[in-house]
């Protein structure tokens, strides 16, 4: 009966094994990494939600504060949906033997946990946020725990940038090369593969 027509495995493999070039890492089109932009909303809104919870329990703002807290957590989650994949892409570009790789792993694990905590938190509020004047103890406790973990995790993310230089001078290295060459400096050969 002859052979069955086969797919072209080479072609498919070539498509799957797209190299992680500088341009395919996050934010190539913006000339700015995307993950640090996307994290601003959860980083600001989840601790703010904890503050709004606290205010509501101190009888400030009434139901508006409860609603505001709900909306703040929701918008933070929407932005986390962008922050998580872009963060994974940036992390996968770090070499495993670098110290920043391990920090990134903890940062990733903590953020996954924090996101789950806030999803649960949101679900607990879903039925009551429209009419309650005070946030209940359960969701309030989750906001506080989530906020504390988030500050720790965000600090690790910050260390990756400010202590380990992850994503620093990635988009601008061609510009800096020209500056260094013009200033009479030794420069590395052009086809370098750097983290």
């Amino acid at each position: 009966m002859g052979h069955l027509p086969s797919f072209e495995p080479r072609y498919r493999r070539a498509k799957l094994k797209m190299p992680m070039s500088e341009e395919t890492k996050s934010g190539g089109f913006l000339k700015h990494p995307l993950h640090p932009i996307a994290v601003h909303l959860p980083m600001a809104l989840w601790p703010s939600a904890a503050l709004f919870d606290l205010l509501s329990r101190a009888d400030v703002g009434g139901n508006v504060m409860v609603r505001l807290s709900f909306w703040a957590i929701s918008l933070g989650l929407v932005s986390a949906l962008i922050a998580i994949p872009t963060g994974i892409v940036d992390w996968s570009g770090i070499k495993k033997e670098k110290a920043a790789w391990k920090i990134g792993l903890y940062h990733f694990g903590l953020n996954g946990l924090i996101t789950i905590l806030f999803v649960v938190n949101l679900l607990l509020r879903l039925k009551t946020f429209r009419f309650e004047d005070q946030v209940e103890t359960g969701p309030f406790a989750l906001s506080i725990i989530g906020t504390l973990l988030l500050i720790g995790s965000a600090y690790l993310g910050g260390l990756m940038v400010y202590d380990h230089g992850i994503n620093v001078a990635r988009h601008s290295k061609h510009k800096w090369r020209q500056v260094a060459e013009a200033a009479g400096a030794n420069v590395p050969p052009k086809q370098e593969k750097q983290p």
Partner: protein, 289 residues
């Protein structure tokens, strides 16, 4: 001391980029609540947006303090200095816009749909915030401002010392050794550095263990500023990705850099730091020898 604290050196993390998360998140939230109120006029959206703006203004003003300390820390002639100035001006306009916005909203908090004036003010504010936020991010990710800064505890060069050499003394045309006086020897303390531009050749001059050394300003990995690097144990460490070089020989001691630095002989004559430019330039280009 206060300057170090405002720059977040004890934390190993600058304070301004941490604090700015709050105004960015809260002002964005307020605009989104406003937009939702146009389609779904729910109770509490308008007041919620008002609270978010008030908290955002308070957080903006808090973030401005370490931000200004960071601004002062950038070298006067750094390419990021104009960006930092623009970032600061845009943010000041943005805070004023949201302060007016909050005042307008404070007059009457019981709207179901956000009226046109506060909506326009919020759109303007978020637009300014997005532009200045992008510029702020570009300063970190393109220009490496505040990256690795906490490792250097001594003063960094406030500006580049520019020295225009006569054509006969320039690196490309000089024949013999030329000693060029760049600064007074006692103007540099232990662990400090100078950034010197000798008619286009930019070098870092450092004082380490009582002696002076000179090498190229730009790291050979991603061209970080070595005059702002940490100096210890006979080594200079690039602030950006931590490459370390021997200050005497320019040899790479620790990656990610792979290429050695160009070094320049330094002598102190009559109280002046003198750098020899031509001799090493000849050594670096073998065809000239």
């Amino acid at each position: 001391m206060i300057k170090d604290a405002l720059e977040g050196k004890p934390l190993r993390h600058p304070l301004h980029p941490f604090l700015v998360h709050f105004p960015i998140g809260l002002f964005t939230l307020s605009l989104i609540l406003d937009l939702i109120s146009l389609w779904y006029p729910l109770d509490g959206l308008y007041r919620g947006a008002f609270y978010a703006i008030v908290l955002g203004v308070i957080c903006s003003l808090t973030a401005a303090i370490p931000g200004f300390a960071d601004f002062l820390d950038i070298r006067k002639d750094h390419p990021a200095k104009p960006k930092a100035r623009l970032h600061m001006i845009l943010n000041l306009i943005m805070v004023v816009t949201f302060a007016i916005d909050a005042w307008v909203r404070g007059q009457d908090l019981f709207f179901l749909r956000t009226p046109i004036l506060p909506l326009l003010l919020s759109i303007l504010g978020v637009l300014l915030l997005s532009i200045s936020g992008y510029i702020g991010g570009a300063m970190i990710y393109d220009d490496g401002i505040a990256v690795g800064r906490h490792r250097r505890r001594t003063r960094t060069p406030p500006e580049t010392i520019g020295i225009a050499l006569p054509p006969t003394m320039r690196a490309e045309s000089a024949t013999g050794a030329q000693m060029i006086a760049v600064a007074d020897a006692d103007s540099v303390s232990e662990g400090e550095s100078l950034r010197v531009d000798l008619s286009g050749t930019v070098i870092a001059v450092v004082k380490l263990d009582g002696a002076f050394y000179a090498f190229q300003e730009f790291c050979t990995h991603r061209f970080g500023p070595l005059s702002e690097g940490c100096l210890k144990e006979g080594q200079v460490e690039c602030p950006w990705h931590g490459s370390r070089f021997d200050v005497r020989t320019g040899k790479v001691l620790h990656g990610p850099a792979k290429v050695d630095l160009k070094t320049y002989p330094v002598r102190v004559c009559q109280g002046k730091i003198c750098v020899e430019l031509a001799a090493t330039a000849a050594k670096a280009t073998p065809t000239q020898v």
